[in-house]
């Protein structure tokens, strides 16, 4: 897996994420999720490490709320109705009710599974593609230099942002600001103060970084620029991307023939 081109890995994550949304059958989504786990095992994503455990638990809690929201409020009629009641009725015209049917259960489970599938694909992406490989990969497939530079500076900015965040938080603590043992509104207020300081610093940093690029004579467009780290795509990369695209087309076909979850979401808003 680590020998694949970074762009192939990126395509894998994005195409499979789209497929997870458009597959009409919940069983297919479960298969995709199983494939996700194989990827996670192959790339040795440390899902049991302290940092990952926190992220996974946080996501699963959020996912439970997604399930509950769909379970109670999607109001999808099905073959079997388990429960139905009116919550609000105004002048016999406007009504809000809860309907729990076999379809609401199916839809709630379906969207939760799709979210889990995409989440684990993202975990795979974070471990399998380093920021550096991604930039070299993109440059090797001739993505414009300016875009690659912006991505690189974004990664640098995030890393600086994280460091500065902890320094500012500590600086506030030395002035008696409590972050742990305090009320939620106070906590929000304190975090807003950190972000104000961070934004000011980030403006300064961005200005300095762009001055540094200019001062080193690095133009955004140059026909003669060479690429030091050139990662050519190999046959297996093209083969995998071809398979992914074929799978995507097949999923779209299934979606059109059988109708799917994605269209029902769109239908809700129409």
């Amino acid at each position: 897996m680590t020998r694949l081109h970074p762009v192939t890995k990126l395509a894998l994550v994005f195409i499979l994420s789209i497929i997870s949304l458009i597959l009409p059958n919940i069983l297919d989504v479960i298969y995709l999720l199983l494939f996700d786990f194989i990827l996670i095992i192959l790339t040795k994503v440390p899902i049991f490490s302290k940092g990952f455990r926190k992220v996974i638990i946080g996501f699963l809690l959020a996912n439970v709320s997604i399930f509950i929201a769909w379970f109670f409020f999607s109001q999808e009629e099905g073959n079997i109705t388990f429960f139905e009641t009116t919550i609000v009725l105004i002048r016999n015209k406007w009504e809000w009710h809860i309907l729990i049917s076999d379809q609401t259960v199916y839809k709630a489970a379906s969207i939760s599974l799709r979210a889990i599938t995409m989440f684990f694909l993202m975990l795979f992406m974070f471990v399998a593609i380093s920021d550096r490989d991604l930039i070299h990969g993109l440059r090797s497939v001739k993505v414009p230099f300016a875009i690659c530079l912006i991505i690189s500076m974004t990664f640098r900015g995030l890393s600086m942002f994280q460091q500065e965040y902890f320094i500012i938080k500590e600086a506030m603590m030395t002035r008696g600001v409590e972050f742990d043992k305090t009320s939620i509104p106070k906590k929000i207020k304190n975090f807003i103060s950190i972000f104000i300081a961070l934004i000011i610093l980030m403006f300064k940093r961005t200005e300095e970084m762009s001055a540094s690029i200019e001062a080193r004579g690095i133009p955004m467009r140059s026909k003669n620029r060479t690429v030091y780290h050139y990662y050519p795509m190999k046959k297996k990369d093209f083969f995998i991307i071809f398979l992914l695209l074929a799978f995507l087309v097949y999923s779209i076909y299934l979606n059109i023939v059988k109708g799917s979850f994605l269209f029902s979401i769109i239908g809700l808003f129409l």
Binding site: R156, V177, A197, M209, R216, G217, R225
Partner: protein, 509 residues
């Protein structure tokens, strides 16, 4: 020989500034010169550097008169990337110069612009890293490097492009004296080797006198002195006029100090006591090794040591930001873990090196009152303390002139950061590197404030590399090396002990 840099009656004003930042500048610089540029903060030194490599006027809006010619090209008509290839500019803060994710990529990105082939890029990366003593650091990310190492990478990334002119804007402000000396030696060797023209902005008079062959002093946008370095010694009055220090020995600094440890700490109980303190970071770096230290009321201590010797880790234990992994820290005879954050904040004040990390309110008043309001002080008490502090630190005039704290200069922002901490009336004040990037006049002003606070009974702990501050202001020295406390001793004794000075990387001012 025709000069390679020629300023002819050049004046410049930024679009946002009220007055001219550079006024009728006339300078000729020849190839191979090592020129030091000095002057007080805000004099126009960095602006002058930006004019040489074309950032001004090509990328900055403003008003211009006269001309700057570099390699015979008028910078108004030249192309930025053409100038950038031949003139290397290294800024003060190396953190902001890193745009790529590894050392190797950082150097390569400039070389790719020169359209070099892969083999040549590889050779130049190897050569430049060897030059700055960082061979083997190719795969390191900027987060894994110290301030000094980042500065070296910045130099390597520019030197790899083989510029004809190298401009350095205070490149050693984050380094310990030994690190500074190494960088200056490196600059001198590459200048000789490549017949490079170097223009260096620095507040370090001693280093400029040692390495540069010409000095330009700027004040208020005007050239006040432009001569050979050897002429500085006969113009000491001029240096004093512009707040530039003339190097004298540490002992002379000490003689000018009235802060001397005359008697020991007899019958006094320590305010802070660290016993068998050890600390290891998650990346397994052991930052403190069995440190034992006592700090007494009304001490004025300088904690010194090389970069990475454990100074910051030690002081973070004093204000509860780090919890002891082994050993303990007592504050007023009680273990520090028993204090909550607000109690510690009212006992120990901590000022960061960069005031931008500490200030986040829009006005001076809001910033000073923030800590008090957070700790729910009575309105009457807030007003009393606020008035007291702005008078003590002379901030009233800035409150009237500047609507927002964001427009204040770094020196005033640092003073405001001190006020925001001091308003909580802590017994102990810890100041991390109070002099970085400031001119001598500002350092003196800031240190006088600290001296005044010390006379009012505060205990002052400063972490510093600045030999002038150490010699003139501290009563005692705590030396750390590789996480171990080597010795705590009176400053006068330290200044006579060459062996300890070497351990602490101390070099006389």
């Amino acid at each position: 020989m025709a000069p390679i840099i020629k300023f002819k009656d050049f004046s410049w004003k930024y679009k946002t500034s009220k007055d001219l930042v550079l006024k009728s500048i006339n300078i000729n610089i020849n190839q191979g010169e090592f020129v030091g540029i000095m002057g007080p903060t805000g004099a126009g030194k960095s602006t002058l550097c930006s004019c040489i490599n074309g950032l001004i006027p090509l990328r900055t809006r403003g008003w211009i008169r006269g001309s700057v010619n570099v390699f015979g090209m008028n910078t108004r008509e030249a192309k930025m990337h053409e100038l950038g290839k031949r003139i290397g500019l290294i800024f003060q803060d190396p953190e902001s110069q890193f745009i790529m994710m590894t050392v190797e990529d950082e150097i390569a990105i400039g070389l790719e612009t020169l359209s070099l082939n892969r083999n040549e890029i590889e050779e130049r990366i190897e050569w430049s890293l060897k030059l700055v003593g960082l061979k083997g650091y190719e795969e390191k990310s900027p987060d894994e490097l110290s301030g000094g190492q980042k500065q070296r990478v910045a130099i390597a990334s520019i030197m790899a492009m083989r510029p004809e002119i190298l401009i350095l804007d205070e490149p050693t402000s984050d380094l310990d004296p030994q690190g500074k000396r190494e960088i200056f030696k490196l600059l001198e060797s590459i200048r000789k080797k490549f017949d490079l023209t170097i223009i260096l902005v620095s507040h370090d008079t001693k280093k400029i006198m040692q390495f540069c062959n010409r000095v330009i002093i700027i004040d208020n946008g005007e050239i006040k002195f432009d001569d050979e370095t050897s002429q500085l010694s006969s113009n000491i009055d001029l240096l004093n006029e512009f707040g530039i220090y003339y190097p004298i020995s540490s002992l002379k600094y000490q003689e000018s100090s009235d802060l001397k440890l005359e008697k020991g700490h007899i019958e006094q109980k320590p305010l802070i006591k660290a016993s068998n303190l050890s600390y290891t970071y998650p990346n397994q770096t052991q930052a403190l090794k069995n440190v034992n230290l006592e700090i007494y009321p009304n001490d004025f201590i300088a904690i010194i040591g090389k970069n990475g010797s454990g100074k910051t880790t030690l002081i973070k234990h004093f204000n509860g930001l780090l919890k002891p992994q082994q050993g303990e820290v007592l504050l007023k005879e009680e273990t520090i873990t028993q204090y909550n954050i607000s109690q510690i904040a009212q006992t120990i004040g901590y000022c960061y090196q960069n005031p931008d990390h500490q200030l986040f309110k829009n006005t001076i008043r809001e910033e000073i009152e923030y800590g008090l309001r957070n700790l729910k002080f009575h309105e009457h008490e807030i007003e009393r303390r606020y008035n007291q502090i702005i008078e003590l630190l002379d901030l009233k005039k800035f409150e009237e002139v500047y609507e927002s704290t964001f427009y204040l200069s770094k020196g005033i922002r640092q003073r405001l950061a001190l006020a925001s901490v001091l308003v909580l009336e802590p017994d102990v004040l810890i100041i991390d590197e109070p002099t970085t990037g400031q001119d001598f006049r500002m350092i003196e002003e800031f240190m006088k404030i600290l001296k005044d606070l010390h006379e009012r009974g505060h205990t002052i702990i400063i972490v510093t590399h600045d030999p002038r501050v150490i010699a003139k202001y501290s009563k005692e020295i705590v030396i750390l090396d590789d996480g171990k406390l080597i010795q705590k001793l009176p400053t006068s004794e330290f200044l006579k002990n060459k062996e300890l000075q070497d351990i602490a990387a101390y070099i006389s001012p």
